[in-house]
């Protein structure tokens, strides 16, 4: 658990609206951010965390207005640097539940350096990555997650660069926790956020978020009602990787690749389907899951990886405590008067 283990309330629990600030929410009507805000407020209620122990830190972008809408502590910082600032907050006070909010431009373009290093250090933060594959606040330029060839205002002839898959970056940086959720599934978002807060270390949640103005329906093939059962694999730890309206499609390994199989076809049984293990130390299978793309595969949703790893802020404080116990210095005066000093009378 990231926050201080002290229940917020006894008897009369907080409600999601208790976490809403008095500020008018100014995202575009229909923006996916509303659902995320809703899910975050529900998750905090479920976690029974005290409002004053929660801090939201953001960079710049539409989603980075998020802290203003939460009645917790919040800091709307500068472009790309949210997680660097959050690292300082967490190291200064490890008892806080610290949430980073960043868009794909914020986290992966201008803030790419901080993104990978925060993951590498495994700082005990929750990182909500709003991925809508476009720059919204600057009105519609391609982002580091835009598909190759994407036509935008800054790429009228199509982009000539390939996108990042954020989760692949996270794996490369030895992430201990990563998940993916669609902004259309508040229940799943809430569940995953609760898991993220419980995880010790940096919990990365990629939210497939829809920008109604500049990139509408970018995730529609994944999230549309009629196709989502076939196009999303919702992972649950210890459960078989089944999907489809009939839950009769599954994944199995074929050499070093995954393949989709149908139970009942070609002699395939439920036993042939892989069971999700988010605790696997070796990230290979998690990597394969995070790479799955349409139309051959469904998109992996839920917690993909959740393993134990040394936590930066805890290690840093443990080192301080150890030094405090073992140092020959007990006060600054001890330090000043140590070694070569001389007296003038």
């Amino acid at each position: 658990m990231k926050h201080k283990m002290e229940a917020a309330t006894i008897g009369c629990p907080l409600k999601p609206k208790d976490f809403a600030s008095d500020q008018e929410v100014k995202w575009c009507p229909g923006c996916g951010d509303y659902a995320v805000l809703n899910a975050v407020q529900r998750a905090l209620v479920e976690l029974n965390v005290k409002k004053e122990d929660v801090t939201f830190i953001s960079g710049i972008g539409c989603s980075s207005r998020f802290p203003y809408y939460m009645d917790t502590y919040g800091f709307h910082t500068i472009h790309g640097r949210g997680v660097a600032i959050a690292t300082g907050v967490k190291v200064a006070n490890p008892e806080l539940s610290v949430w980073v909010v960043a868009g794909d431009g914020d986290a992966l373009a201008i803030g790419g350096n901080h993104f990978i290093h925060a993951i590498r250090r495994n700082v005990n933060l929750n990182f909500l990555l709003f991925n809508n594959e476009i720059y919204g606040l600057t009105k519609g330029q391609y982002s580091p997650t835009s598909e190759r060839g994407k036509i935008t205002k800054s790429s009228p002839h199509g982009t000539v660069e390939s996108p990042f898959n954020p989760l692949e970056l996270a794996i490369g940086a030895h992430s201990s926790f990563y998940a993916r959720v669609p902004d259309t599934d508040v229940k799943l978002m809430t569940q995953v956020m609760v898991e993220a807060e419980k995880h010790e270390g940096l919990s990365l949640i990629e939210i497939l978020q829809n920008c109604v103005i500049f990139n509408d329906k970018v995730h529609a093939a994944i999230t549309a009602k009629e196709s989502k059962a076939d196009n999303q694999l919702i992972l649950e730890h210890g459960k078989p990787m089944l999907f489809g309206a009939e839950k009769n499609k599954g994944l199995r390994l074929k050499g070093l690749e995954l393949e989709v199989v149908c139970i009942g076809e070609n002699g395939i049984t439920a036993d042939d389907v892989l069971v999700h293990d988010e605790k696997l130390e070796n990230p290979t299978l998690h990597y394969l899951l995070s790479r799955m793309s349409l139309p051959e595969f469904p998109i992996a949703m839920g917690v993909i990886r959740n393993v134990e790893a040394a936590v930066y802020d805890k290690s840093l404080h443990a080192q301080i405590s150890k030094e405090q116990e073992n140092s020959k210095f007990k006060s600054l005066n001890d330090l000043y008067l140590s070694g070569n000093t001389f007296r003038i009378n």
Partner: protein, 610 residues
């Protein structure tokens, strides 16, 4: 015969791998311990091991020490120890007549002359005719003395700096014990190397005594300093300790977010040794994350600092603006070096003043102060922290390579001798509180940190409502906030001491300085004052805001000369603040400190004008 001297300048010079910095530091420790005043000037190339035998690769360590009048590391050495021809070449133009040069004759051969740029042998062609040259076979005697220890050639030669140090100790009648015990500590796990260094140190000492070629031995009397307990300290170390002290007196944890950069890195090194004092340190992925983590720590209630040098300041600029806008306490240390761009990483300059004052987007006023001696880096770190916490503002603290690497005796300030610092923390719910409420005197807001019940609030880089701190694009509100941020910094002037100057009866020339050139400027003015010249001196540590009586001082003088290591940045700043005065300039930008002789010449030139 022993000659008693008021003060002496000695310089160790050799290849950058010859251990000149270590020899200089050990000499400094020893002289400080016998109670001398000291000022040091380490001067080295930015390459770790620059091409051997070339002038570019020469590393030097100059020490000025004595019983009085030591305000600077000295213009040029009285005694130069040159380990090779390049070290001689690098210093030749600065040597004064009749000074003593001790050379390692073993490296004075044709190959080394060519590398150093000598056309012939300087020992034979009259180049050194005006000097007292002592030719010592340092390398070969070092090797002879170590022949039975079983060391390889390279390891033996690595000890030759100690031969030079041994000679220096004999010259000044300094005790060997401090340095001998240093090697026992330093090479605890390698007694052979400890023994080798000690043996060579003693060999150098014996050699100097035996040859007696060194005209006489000097004794420098101990200084008459204020009573107390002292220790030798470098500027960067003093800076680190000042922050530890300030956090303690503010009853807060110290947090350092930083990225390594010359010449500021030693502050990181020093604080990294003192986790026992509770200091939290992030060596970040870049300069930006360094300051951003510090801003986060400040938001969460720590005494937050970030340390850097010019190029790193450039990268931190946007984040400094965020700290200005959110009115969070933060100290940004810039140990200046020569610029622009990568510039002269190991050399000194004062050319980041305008960057500190104005180098941000928007109307972005910030408190700027500077240290002025290696030891007072402690006091200015403390004062910068006090201003940041009590006035709720980021503070830029300027140091210089010359201060950071320089050393002098520091009169130890025990914790109980320092005043308390009063952070503007609110720890319990107050119904009248708003995030941007301010106190009437300082215009500082309160510091309410996450975890404080009932006062959850949001801050950020967007313009905010004067009182609630909520985002506001209202034109009148913005105008008001620009004024408030400006006034808040100006009001710091109500809480700092008045500016002092030295030379109460003078009316003709006021010498104005700031930052790390204090000692040299003071020394130059002091000498002319002793000659009865009509000259005064004022030195600024508070840059923004300036002390309230600044104009009153300026108006007393016919001429005002601003001396700084740049093209005239402080002078230009003063012209903006005080257009009624004429500020003349004396500038240097060679990556080197002023020389007293140059300053005196300039001052005399003005004083001699009708």
């Amino acid at each position: 015969m022993k000659t008693e001297l008021e003060s002496v300048v000695i310089k160790f010079a050799g290849d950058s791998g010859d251990g000149m910095q270590l020899a200089g530091m050990l000499f400094t420790e020893t002289t400080a311990n016998v109670g001398n005043e000291i000022a040091t000037f380490p001067d080295f190339p930015s390459e770790i091991r620059a091409p051997q035998g070339t002038v570019a690769g020469v590393s030097g360590f100059q020490i000025h020490f004595g019983s009085s009048g030591v305000h600077s590391p000295g213009d040029s050495p009285d005694i130069l120890i040159a380990m090779n021809p390049a070290a001689l070449m690098a210093n030749l133009s600065q040597l004064k007549p009749a000074c003593t040069i001790i050379i390692d004759i073993d490296s004075f051969d044709k190959k080394h002359f060519e590398k150093a740029g000598f056309e012939g042998n300087p020992l034979e062609d009259g180049t050194l005719a005006d000097y007292n040259v002592i030719e010592a076979p340092i390398a070969s005697l070092t090797k002879t003395g170590l022949a039975d220890l079983g060391l390889d050639n390279k390891s033996m030669l690595r000890c030759k700096n100690m031969f030079a140090l041994g000679i220096a100790y004999w010259l000044f009648n300094e005790p060997l014990e401090k340095s001998l015990s240093f090697f026992d500590r330093k090479f605890k796990s390698n007694p052979t190397i400890a023994e080798a260094n000690k043996r060579v140190l003693k060999a150098g000492h014996h050699y100097a005594e035996t040859i007696e070629a060194i005209r006489s031995s000097f004794t420098v009397l101990p200084a008459k300093k204020a009573a107390g307990t002292y220790r030798n300290i470098t500027g960067n170390q003093a800076m680190a300790w000042g922050f530890l002290a300030a956090a303690k007196k503010a009853k807060k944890d110290l947090f350092l977010g930083t990225y390594p950069i010359t010449p500021a890195t030693d502050i990181l090194h020093e604080l990294s040794k003192h986790k026992w004092a509770g200091v939290k340190i992030i060596q970040a992925e870049d300069e930006i994350a360094g300051i951003c983590s510090a801003i986060g720590a400040s938001f969460a209630g720590d005494v937050a600092i970030t340390t850097t040098s010019g190029p790193g300041m450039a990268l931190k600029t946007e984040a400094i603006g965020l700290a200005v806008m959110t009115e969070l306490p933060l100290v940004i240390v810039n140990v200046q070096r020569g610029g622009p761009s990568t510039g002269l990483p190991t050399k000194t300059e004062q050319s980041d003043l305008m960057q500190a004052l104005y180098g941000r987007n928007g109307e972005s006023p910030i408190a700027v102060i500077s240290a002025s001696t290696p030891a007072n880096c402690f006091d200015w770190a403390f004062e910068a922290t006090r201003i940041a916490l009590e006035h709720m503002t980021p503070v830029i603290l300027l140091s210089e390579s010359y201060l950071g690497n320089g050393a002098e005796p520091w009169k130890i300030k025990l914790t109980e001798e320092l005043p308390d610092i009063h952070p503007r923390t609110l720890e319990s719910y107050d119904e009248n509180w708003k995030p941007y409420n301010r106190d009437a005197e300082k215009l500082a807001r309160n510091w309410v940190v996450p975890g404080t019940k009932g006062m959850e609030h949001r801050i950020g880089g967007l313009e905010k409502d004067e009182c609630t701190g909520c985002v506001s694009h209202n034109p009148q509100n913005h105008a008001k906030m620009v004024e408030i941020r400006h006034d808040k910094i100006n009001r710091i002037a109500d809480f700092i001491p008045l500016q002092k100057y030295k030379g109460k009866d003078a009316t003709k020339l006021l010498v104005v300085g700031w930052g790390g050139q204090f000692g040299i400027l003071f020394g130059a003015v002091n000498q002319l004052q002793k000659e009865g010249k009509d000259i005064a001196f004022t030195h600024f540590n508070y840059i923004n805001p300036l002390p309230k009586n600044t104009a009153q001082i300026f108006q007393k003088f016919d001429r005002i000369l601003v001396c700084e290591l740049n093209k005239g940045q402080f002078a230009a700043y003063l012209r903006m603040q005080f257009p009624q005065f004429n500020f003349e300039q004396f500038n240097k930008f060679e990556g080197l400190p002023f020389k007293i002789i140059d300053l005196k010449n300039k001052f005399n030139e003005i004083l001699n004008e009708a």
